[in-house]
Symmetry: D2
Subunit: 342 residues, 4 copies
């Protein structure tokens, strides 16, 4: 049995219900590349959740989904405004720039969240050919800092963007965590607040792998199928992703998983705070950011692999996931306490 | 139960042993992006098979593996010479051109196979900056036409390429079918005949999904990890591909699967020939190409989905796979016979 | 005095009237990047010549103009069908693939000219995401083989393309030579026959440098100014190209230059034929293609630099230009004769 | 006579000596694409100035030279660190990202100049495939803010970069202004302080057009000729740029021009300061940045076109050039004074 830790929600495995769905779909032959009944049903399910005017493109991973989103919404002369901490800005090795040719502009934020005030200084140069044209606003929900946009915060951003003829992309690698945190539906935090395209994540919340680009306006996605193929994101045996999505939505499995992960993060935050550890960001989803003495960190990492976040500030990141158990946190905190008591 | 047909080997499902390996790997947490024991072992296995000076990069799909190969071996000013029928030339929506910027030059062949004679007229313009520089020779083994290169044919091509400072890439989406057809090891038809990089396929031969770029010279692949990330081919829960590869090699599962598929193709070819159908290509792997009257074809497609190959010549393609059964072929031929007797 | 030869029309210099125009424009300051009166007037002149619904983007060179045309008309998932001999296919080091990401498909032709029959086999796979989508038909007028499309030949091609929702690009690096050869206006061989965008050449016909992309439908070019900037084709001191174009059109200088070059090619062809040299292509513009014994060729090249065309067939290319003089041809043929008489 | 203003040094024309050189080179035929005697001599001249281990690639414009530099030194997975104000970051419409695929990271600076302290926080993630690999440090000399790096400041930056296996690119669109300001040779502020590649500008200092990428290590530039062709920067009639460079270096014309422009900027700064205008940046080259009341600015712009720099701070930019005359400044200041006196 591999030990459970707090390095990333993608260090977790596959939820048993998801695995069962893969097994169940493993019967005989189906047409490749999405021409199968599982994909048809999963697509229908997305339309149920997000509204009829929705197009869905399943992808292998989050970088693939983000790249497809940007490539479909932007041209090479556009810029994409995003928080400096955005996955597209710092965790994709420049894939968006390479694939779409666009300029990615990271904006410093205190908490991983853009605001109209932060965005406005970048809204200039429209029509001026020397300047990359602001074309997309990209935000992460939940953010890479474990924080969450409220619906009115999202509406304010999409209004600002649309007023400038820009599209809004949401990196929803952890959209499930955001939805349960806000106790809102996917639709209420995407279509209803003006999002144009969404990278919908499944991998971090119990799927083996599977992400989807959800276009909330079919006219935006007329070329998406070609860009998906060019981005090497078109799965030949697509039924095995589609079947996962079907199970993910069945009986609100996504919700149970995300709720559990969020609760575990709250519990973890509470337990480490009890031990005098300073938490640096609001714990609104499944991430905990904390200040940890370097020496303690190094020792703790010998028992549990996890990532430093901002080494200059002695900040670390701990993530919980659908399969985190209270006992994992108890043991982790016990270890931490031992080290603190040195 | 979904019906088994002959449209493509990727219409098949997951071999039970592969699925079992996924289940078995689904335990606790492991480090993401390949920092897990399954990936370590699978990589080791590839080194056993291909020799020590081998670097392996797991990818999601064949287009991803091909694009990664080309992007790593070529610069934007290079051209890639390949048969006109190559997957990279006609089945990837221009992904190689887009991702690497290189020029793909398709060369007409009678049987999907390049020869030195076919290649030589393209070996000019070296050093002339107006001309895309011939940089890669890319061949498919088995070819998209179901044919196979013999080792000496491969050696002749790699010698020609290397004499011109070009690299040789092998698209081995069906390399298992080639190996069993020749009764040779992977190494004997790649490293030993001078191949530089190989897209090693698993998906079409019983895996859920999983391909690998195998560099047969570690110096060629120093940048490959970055290009893989940029091509959105870096799987966070990589253990679930690595575990599949482990099972794929365990007890020569790959060999049994490929041998079976090839045998089924031979059987299918024999059975349709008996009914007077003309076969257009040597049946050396798991594909059967045949001439079929358009009307018969249309009727047969109502019972069995499959692809026309060259409509002008009334040519169709049938593929067998690891899970094809004799009874499937018997039923298919029965249906065909009915229509022919129409 | 540098010797005049027959290697290329771009080995020629600047026509005195063009140089005078540069000098005249060299007065005081003007707004950069095209915000000057010369550019305004030159743009107006293009509208006079091509019709009101015309947008013009001046570029530095032919590759720049071709790349801008393709980048503006095509997306990365499109293919561009062109003759195998097209400049975009063999003389631009893969720049079109690199900049637009599109696939360039060269079609073999006997004379550098596409026909509907040659194009039709490539018009398939529409809507099929595995296949680069045929998006542009690109033809050269005059062709790289010195031949010329007649208006009805052009109409047939543009009809075919438009019927398939494709655009037609004309590489008009030598459009002046074509126009005078046909005794037709620029408009009659572009807009009137259905061309969508034209690379309009000036450099090869007496300008120092200067090409223009002429969009014959303003809706096609809404993004062209950004793509021009990204292609590094936006000239800061643009007046010095615009002024050249003004002089080029003044008193039909373009026509005199092109007519002269064409006449010189006809004279050259006649003179070498007299000496028993076989001409391989119709001499319709300013190029002469001929069969020349390798040894003679090598010796002649010591006196006059020129390019072999097809070494396997002992074919060479000679180009005339606006400044070629009869005496140059006489001397050249005298030298040739000497060599032939060995 | 077009009026001289202060909008940009590229609003100026051609220095008479440069124009004379173009005329002189306009004789007969020469081999295209750089195979001419002028290019040979100009290249030799660059080697005299920069040292023997120098390769030079002439380009049409500054964006072309910068893109060629970056494309040659970086791979798509690299990042380029530069001041936020860098031309490559804000004035090239994202051309560097598009052409090389690299990530451009703009760093905020008070004066357009990077320092080791500003750079260091970005030097992390080496070897980590999720992160664009810091590959190039790009600085402008003179900067876009009219400031200048001293040799020891350059050395400190190049040492830092080289210690991290990064290359240093200098955008020298105004390197002449920097050299004369420091009273140093080109070599002393490039090779001798560790610069790897330099975009050497001519256009802004009296040439009609012409920039050069100067590689200060021939091994870096083995692929540059292909990248230049792909970037549409290979001039067919190259002699007409090369001849300009010859004249530019002849009798230190470049020095006289730059010195004059710098002196005029100093004079302009002094004159406007006399009128109570606040200068915001050190005037070390040929640019003057100043605070101007919005209303005054609007009125002044009616008489003289120039660019606002930072509208939020009421900052404007005035540039002088080789052809600016004292009388132009006197008249300009008179107009300004009138407006200030209301």
């Amino acid at each position: 049995m591999n030990k459970r830790g707090f390095a990333s929600d993608n260090n977790s495995g596959i939820h048993p219900e998801i695995l069962k769905a893969i097994e169940k779909a493993n019967s005989g032959h189906t047409t490749g590349y999405g021409g199968d009944i599982y994909t048809e049903q999963a697509t229908e399910k997305f339309r149920d959740l997000f509204g009829n005017d929705t197009d869905v493109y399943f992808c292998f991973n989050g970088t693939g989904a983000n790249v497809l989103s940007i490539n479909t919404l932007a041209r090479s002369f556009h810029s994409v405004l995003c928080p400096a901490t955005a996955h597209i800005n710092v965790d994709e090795c420049g894939a968006p720039e390479k694939i779409s040719g666009s300029k990615i502009i990271g904006i410093d934020t205190p908490d991983g969240k853009l605001t109209p005030e932060l965005v406005k200084p970048h809204l200039h140069g429209f029509g001026f050919e020397h300047h990359s044209q602001p074309g997309i606003l990209s935000i992460s929900q939940a953010t890479e800092m474990g924080t969450i946009y409220k619906p009115d915060e999202l509406s304010a951003l999409t209004k600002l963007a649309h007023d400038h003829n820009m599209y809004v992309h949401m990196d929803g690698a952890r959209i499930a965590n955001a939805a349960v945190s806000l106790n809102l539906s996917f639709r209420e935090i995407s279509r209803d607040v003006g999002i144009d395209a969404l990278s919908f994540g499944g991998t971090k919340n119990g799927m083996m792998m599977g992400e989807a680009v959800v276009f909330l306006n079919k006219q935006l996605s007329v070329n998406a199928k070609y860009f998906r193929k060019q981005a090497a994101q078109l799965f030949s045996k697509m039924r095995f992703v589609s079947a996962q999505f079907l199970a993910y939505f069945e009986n609100d499995l996504w919700k149970k998983n995300a709720l559990h992960a969020n609760n575990m993060a709250a519990f973890l935050a509470q337990e480490v705070e009890k031990r005098g550890i300073k938490i640096t960001q609001k714990v609104e989803a499944n991430g905990v950011f904390a200040i940890l003495d370097d020496e303690i960190r190094d020792q703790l990492q010998q028992a549990y692999f996890f990532y430093p976040w901002d080494e200059n500030n002695h900040e670390v990141r701990w993530m919980t996931s659908f399969d985190t158990r209270e006992e994992d946190i108890v043991l982790f905190c016990k270890k931490l306490e031992e080290l603190l008591n040195g």
